[in-house]
Subunit: 192 residues, 2 copies
DNA sequence: AATAATACATACCGGTCTGTATAGTTGCAA
DNA sequence: TTGCAACTATACAGACCGGTATGTATTATT
């Protein structure tokens, strides 16, 4: 149950937003699923927009924590950590609840460039890429910026690929490509 | 003007769907922008869903034609054609009207797996990848299936990356990675 | 026991959505 | 000139949207 109604509503809304889409999820559906009322929802969230942004913020934290914890759990050396990121995402994509990336999807649902949802999505994208850039730098990559961008593209590409064709093993195919790109970058950075 | 009202409505709707999102575009807005009436729209398209599917079909044809023609224009050898695909997309991404991939976006807007929109998006994704696989095979790639999947991921990843941060040159960064992957695949396929 | 905070129940508001009904207008062809 | 088909104009149905108003039940604190 909910010791905290605010969090319970957010948790319920977050699950619905992710699984059904944000615009496809009405306030009434959230209220019904959470077993509460509109009045309570609007007590904690002034508008649906606020709830959406809270959902994205929560998703961002959960995603970053999962990535960082998963990487730390799987590898200790920077180069292995880069590859571990793909293993973490492979696990994510294997879940039956997987419905793509919350930020990519939100970005597609809210087209206007100035929309706060767009900004949140772009911010997450940047943060994630910086994590990869840090790891690439620690691993001694030649051009950690380019490499991190390329790895990020492989991951988001694998996500949308798996979204369209489930159980296609997209993230493992992406990891194979990542392995090549990483090796290339490291071999050039460390001349004999 | 429109010699053909059906096509004129579809063209207008297609532009709005792409630039503003499908769910964000009401029938009234389409009718107003096309300078016609709802009665005429519903004469040619039994429902908004039909119009949406027609839009995706039109977008698929336009996209495939643009890719194939652009590749043919830029290169004659299979390996160069693979790289030319990235040049075609780089041009696409540079347009001020660029708003991401119509199929990735539509897939995000209509979450249900059984939705016809999802099927259309998946179908395009497959077709595009097969084009890449053909080129990879012609180029003599070792594992044309894997390579084509990886290149497709780089492209869709670059698209969503550019969607979140405009003017980031994402497709050129993706092309650099593609170049490495292609070289690797060809060198392994043609042993000395 | 009195008070205050929290949450629930329900009805409602204005607006927008897809889709339809009805009537009027234009242009072209026999 | 008449007739017919395509198109326009406009109003409306019915559902759903986000958001609010009013009032009640429950619980904790004092």
């Amino acid at each position: 149950m909910a010791r905290n109604l605010h969090d319970h509503i957010l948790q319920t809304a977050s699950a619905l937003f992710y699984s059904q889409g944000i615009k496809a999820t009405g306030v009434d559906a959230i209220v019904k699923a959470a077993g509460t009322t509109k009045m309570s929802l609007y007590k904690y969230f002034p508008s649906k927009d606020d709830l959406v942004l809270a959902h994205l913020s929560k998703s961002r934290d959960a995603m970053l924590n999962r990535i960082l914890a998963g990487v730390e759990l799987r590898a200790s050396e920077p180069k292995q950590k880069l590859l571990a990121v793909f293993a973490v995402f492979d696990e994510l994509l294997s879940s039956p609840e997987f419905r793509g990336c919350p930020f990519i999807n939100a970005s597609a649902e809210f087209a206007e460039a100035s929309n706060p949802v767009q900004l949140a999505a772009a911010e997450f994208s940047d943060t994630f890429r910086e994590i990869l850039a840090d790891l690439a730098r620690q691993a001694g990559a030649q051009d950690s910026e380019s490499l991190s961008r390329q790895l990020a593209m492989l991951i988001s590409g694998a996500i949308v690929s798996e979204q369209m064709r489930r159980q296609s093993g997209a993230m493992r195919t992406a990891a194979a490509a990542a392995n090549i790109l990483i090796e290339q970058s490291l071999s050039r950075a460390e001349p004999a």
